[in-house]
Symmetry: C2
Subunit: 290 residues, 2 copies
């Protein structure tokens, strides 16, 4: 059922594609997004168990330049999601459309919305991905799919790892589990996110703290535990990702963190697909009980 | 070592990409192909076992419109290939380049070479995929990779299923195992291949028989056994694939065929990825002994 009065009227959903796979169904859908002021596309995998019972929901947030499709094509999540009975929801990474502001940089604008609600012009009219995911798309998932919304987890990659960590820390009542592949853990200082935070939230860095996993924890936000996997041959490790900052923040706050550095792996879906099964098992074990 | 005197000088190979994945390495390479008169791209997955020993080689042939990349992105073969210690080789589906003849139809020309050596102008200069795979690329794999060429299997999808069945029947000394996802089993009559066979081999249908799995068997070609999986919701089932013709040919010839029709599955990589593990296990068990 819809989880807020604002979503009391269930938003209609258009089916773009739908196919049987690994015993479940992989679909792609669009809604007319009020949050983003444009049509928004998303992918949902429904496992075979959903014929018999409501299933937990695991949100996957993608990285810079991606759409919903990258992880759907290359993430290799369906076999294990079908085994564990997980619904997997993959939103897009930004608003889309000719009327939506953009930037020449791949680190700002379309494909780079950083999972927050922008407050600055011209971005604030459309770049409201937190509202899109937490309110609007959650109501759509609750209303259109056999989802147990009392059991939700969230994970993601790179910018989407940042999204997973920050949304979990900002909405700990919503999510029971959180993990990340090669996340941007401190966007306030990472070389590829400072420009986006300035554009979306303005130059006052005080406003950035609420969208920075390490600073959220420093400011008192808590989550039960995290799993983070990182490739040691990731070209962004030293300048953009800096996972040791997240390790430090978790240690100081007493938040259990399972952090694994993997020899030889890069930043691509080769890395993600290799450790996908581990993440799905992590979430499944934490979402098993209602 | 190279397997023919023509390949005595090992052809150099250019590395396009290379990444660690599932404990092994996925690479993409090009060679200057003499068979096809153009640069030819192919993908190779090398499993972690190859650090210690030569590994069997399993060839995957793709369908119409594909390149080497479709199965690499969507086939979900690496986890299981790493478990079983299989080298997976994924050739392109046709010659490429501005000088290579093409056709407006997706069923002829680039992306649609049907794994044979064309005899008719203008195709015969470049469309020599059987020689490319069986002679040229085999020598490259033998020379550049830790491959046990005495243990090779072959499989594929749709046009590539046709390729796997016909190349196995034409070269039973080369391959120890063969399977197919939704193969074109009788290209001489299937609505999407008659035009290609006419163009590549000429209008005399006698020349087609050597590249038609059902007619090869009728004419006496043999292979130890086959595995064929087919989706029941495949839109090409009735007009292009017609697997019952292959069932009939195998039954008459006494060739063991494991044929499985799967409720609800279509012709896409959703179907292929679902049954990929089964095919890899099938080949691994037959390629386990030298």
């Amino acid at each position: 059922m819809p989880h807020s009065s604002a979503a009391a009227v269930l938003k209609p959903m258009q089916i773009i594609s739908d196919a049987k796979v690994h015993g479940g169904r992989q679909g792609v859908y669009t809604i007319e997004s009020d949050a983003c002021g444009c049509d928004m596309t998303f992918a949902v995998f429904v496992p075979p168990q959903a014929k018999e019972q409501l299933c937990p929901v695991l949100w996957y947030l993608s990285g810079l330049t991606c759409t919903h499709a990258n992880v759907m094509d290359k993430g290799e999540y369906r076999r294990m999601a079908a085994e564990h009975g997980l619904i997997i929801v993959c939103p897009d990474t930004s608003p889309r459309g000719d009327h939506v502001p953009d930037d020449a940089s791949w680190q700002l604008g379309k494909g780079a919305a950083f999972y927050l609600d922008a407050t600055e012009e011209p971005w604030s009219a459309n770049f409201r991905m937190e509202s899109h995911i937490i309110d609007e798309l959650s109501a759509v998932i609750a209303g259109h799919f056999p989802a147990d919304m009392s059991r939700q987890g969230i994970f993601g990659h790179s910018m989407g790892g940042h999204g997973a960590l920050t949304l979990a820390l900002r909405h700990p009542d919503r999510f029971k589990s959180c993990s990340a592949f090669a996340p941007i853990v401190q966007p306030s200082t990472a070389n590829w996110s400072v420009g986006a935070l300035t554009a979306y939230l303005g130059p006052d860095q005080a406003a950035w703290r609420g969208h920075d996993a390490t600073l959220l924890i420093a400011d008192g936000a808590r989550f039960p535990e995290f799993l983070v996997d990182q490739g040691k041959s990731d070209q962004y490790l030293e300048t953009g990702l800096m996972p040791w900052l997240f390790e430090d923040a978790c240690r100081k706050a007493g938040i259990p963190l399972t952090y694994r550095l993997h020899e030889g792996y890069d930043h691509s879906y080769n890395f993600i697909s290799t450790f996908m099964d581990d993440h799905l098992a992590w979430h499944a074990s934490r979402l098993a009980q209602a």
